[in-house]
């Protein structure tokens, strides 16, 4: 029942003609209930999995090249293979902390189809011999918490979760946990710290990734909500069928949230790899172009941490490799579109402020660096900037992420793209993410910075007094 439009009971979601995997129940008003779920093929994937050996279930997911949807795009089937044999118990931690600026799809999946996520978790636990699953929901998402708690209560009562699932010898508990407002807890090792009852600060990796040493020091698989939501369909329909959607290196569909200055912003499920940014931003079926009377200036292609793109990037496909080569990333599937009325310095400042606020403070280049980046950008934006500030900004950024930092090409000035990913002096990628808005805008809109910087020279500090040169 495609509606080709907003779905009133799922604000933000826009139905379209394309193939659907994870959002296919959204048009039903009661999509989150066990009744609707069972009536639309729910828990068939689990039944199918229980009829096969765990290793076969794992192979099916590996063959499908199910790419993680949390940001890094690592294939789930390969990650699952990193569990060290025999070091039980193993745990599953499902990441529903979704806080990256511009990003939301996990919230819709948790609110609109919680059973689909739960079914994906069950299949994963069966395939890998996991002892317990933790569904970690972002603290601010009260409705998602309600829907998941209700779904779990119903699924326990109906025999889908818990002891001897569907009469088999497979038993696993799923515990809903919830956060309390900290973006950094989305990073997988910080999430594990938080689940252990600690401050949410990342652990140093390498050498040990969660699959080797995770929750309580045990091998732990961390996957994103949308990654889990793909598993039931995949189990019911098979890897071959899955790969008929999308492109060879990015099979299947993916949810994208497109916000900002487009006519029809929304969350869309689209085929990866074969759809382009232009299709998504301008297609009749999708966002229908930039708002009336305006034109595209720039866009953030993959959440606040991604370097920015410009009109000449519109024909790139929604696929990791070409986007990475062009200097950015698809990240968390969030596209923020800005038209010519947008002040590039101000927009960059707002994102940098986010990283300064959210830095966990564990490493110095990030804690101090993001704070300085914000202060310098703030004074430039306030008209108090100094001529040396652009270089100073780049220098601070370089201390967090030693350059050259990933950035899009600049055809007018003959500047090549620097491919993703960035390097880092920090424990986790949060610090380096703060650099993306800075280098993206300085390369492209240096004149906007210069226009804001007043003619004052730098302020020399001599012993005992501060002189301002004119």
């Amino acid at each position: 029942m495609p509606t080709h439009a907003y779905v009133p009971h799922a604000p933000g979601y826009v139905d379209n003609d394309g193939p659907k995997i994870v959002t296919r129940r959204f048009p039903f008003e009661d999509s989150y209930t066990l009744r609707r779920f069972e009536a639309t093929g729910g828990y068939d994937g689990l039944r199918s999995a229980l009829g096969r050996a765990p290793t076969e279930v794992h192979s099916e997911v590996r063959d499908a090249t199910l790419l993680g949807r949390g940001g890094a795009g690592f294939p789930a089937g390969i990650k699952w293979g990193f569990l060290p044999p025999g070091k039980y118990p193993y745990y599953l931690v499902v990441n529903g902390d979704e806080s990256e600026p511009g990003t939301y799809k996990d919230r819709l999946l948790m609110e609109r189809d919680p059973h689909q996520v739960i079914e994906g978790c069950l299949i994963t636990c069966y395939a890998l011999g996991l002892s317990q699953c933790f569904l970690y929901v972002r603290g601010e998402m009260a409705l998602a918490q309600e829907r998941i708690a209700q779904a779990l209560n119903d699924a326990y009562a109906a025999g889908y979760v818990g002891r001897n699932i569907l009469g088999s010898d497979f038993s696993v508990d799923i515990t809903m946990s919830w956060g309390a407002g900290a973006y950094i807890v989305g990073e997988e090792t910080a999430l594990i710290e938080s689940l252990e009852g600690h401050r949410g600060r990342p652990r140093l990796k390498p050498p040990f990734f969660p699959a080797a040493i995770g929750l309580y020091g045990q091998p732990t698989i961390v996957n994103n909500i949308e990654t889990m939501a793909n598993v039931p369909w995949l189990m019911t329909n098979g890897a071959e069928q899955y790969k008929t959607y999308g492109s060879e290196s990015s099979p299947g569909t993916r949810m994208f949230a497109v916000s900002g200055h487009v006519r029809r912003p929304g969350v869309y499920e689209v085929e990866q790899g074969v759809t382009t940014f232009r299709d998504l931003l301008y297609g009749d079926n999708f966002c229908q172009g930039i708002r009336e009377g305006h034109e595209l200036k720039m866009f953030v292609p993959g959440g606040g941490s991604a370097p920015w793109f410009f009109p000449e990037h519109l024909d790139l496909p929604l696929e990791a490799r070409p986007v990475g080569a062009a200097g950015s990333m698809l990240g968390s599937g969030a596209i923020m579109v800005m038209d010519e009325t947008t002040d590039a310095v101000k927009a960059a400042l707002r994102l940098v402020r986010f990283y300064a606020r959210e830095s966990c403070g564990k490493c110095t280049p990030c804690r101090e660096g993001t704070t300085w980046e914000e202060r310098i950008l703030q004074r430039i934006n306030d008209g108090e900037g100094r001529p040396s500030d652009i270089e100073l900004l780049l220098d601070v950024a370089d201390n967090i992420s030693p350059g050259p930092y990933p950035v899009a090409s600049h055809p007018d000035e003959d500047l090549e793209a620097v491919p993703f990913p960035p390097r880092q002096t920090t424990i986790c990628p949060l610090g380096p993410s703060s650099v993306a808005p800075i280098t993206s805008t300085i390369r492209r809109f240096r004149h906007e910075y210069e226009a804001k910087i007043t003619k004052r020279d730098s302020i020399p500090v001599s012993a005992g007094s501060v002189e301002v040169e004119s």
């Binding site: 689940l195 252990e196 900002g260 966990c360």
Partner: protein, 206 residues
């Protein structure tokens, strides 16, 4: 005062039972304390430490990392206006300024009647419906200044019935029925290979 009530103490114990180790329940228990009192009191943290076998310093150490926990009284309704990029592009700054005028407080402040606290927050995952806000973590989307005034009037007159008092998150609690649980135990007691894996290993070898 402000320790868990008898009812909430049993809710707390049920929450703890869902984790392999009690300390993992700290964040949910801090939320429970905030649900009971509107903010997290020292006595509640002492009680949480007792229930989880941790120290009060550990409880506070964890709690103070997270922005949602308030360690002093706040308004009965906490209004969180998102000012991150997608919302900024569509008027969040104007909305925030308007909210300050309408409520007569600056960001971070609480109205004299103790009804409202205003906050300027990061992305609340509703970016396509900008500008977005949450009141006690319930969404209001594409909020105009008139919508904002209406919202304040509705709360004052008691007609915003979907919004519970500050601190309450999910209205549904997870419950694992005793006869249905697979058995949640500390990691040390779960070193055996799970039965269905053992069965399949045997099947593969034969």
């Amino acid at each position: 005062m402000s320790r868990f009530s008898t009812d909430n103490e049993s809710v707390a114990k049920e929450i703890i039972s869902r984790y392999p180790l009690p300390k993992s329940a700290l964040i949910p228990l801090l939320h429970l304390a905030q649900e009971q009192n509107g903010w997290v009191t020292d006595d509640a943290m002492l009680h949480i430490a007792e229930l989880t076998g941790t120290t009060p310093a550990e409880v506070k150490g964890t709690g103070t990392f997270y922005e949602m926990f308030k360690f002093h009284p706040v308004g009965r309704y906490v209004i969180n206006i998102c000012s991150n990029l997608a919302c900024q592009l569509l008027g969040a700054e104007d909305l925030l300024e308007h909210a300050e005028r309408k409520l007569g407080v600056k960001v971070g402040g609480t109205t004299a009647d103790g009804l409202f606290t205003l906050e300027d927050v990061e992305c609340v995952a509703a970016c396509t419906e900008a500008p977005a806000l949450q009141v006690n973590y319930r969404y209001r989307l594409r909020v105009s200044v008139d919508d904002f005034d209406q919202l304040i009037d509705d709360i004052r007159s008691g007609s915003a019935s979907d919004i519970p008092e500050h601190g309450t998150l999910s209205l549904v609690r997870q419950r694992i029925p005793a006869d249905r649980g697979a058995g949640i135990v500390p990691p040390d007691e779960a070193r055996e290979i799970p039965v269905w894996m053992a069965r399949n290993e045997v099947a593969e070898q034969s």
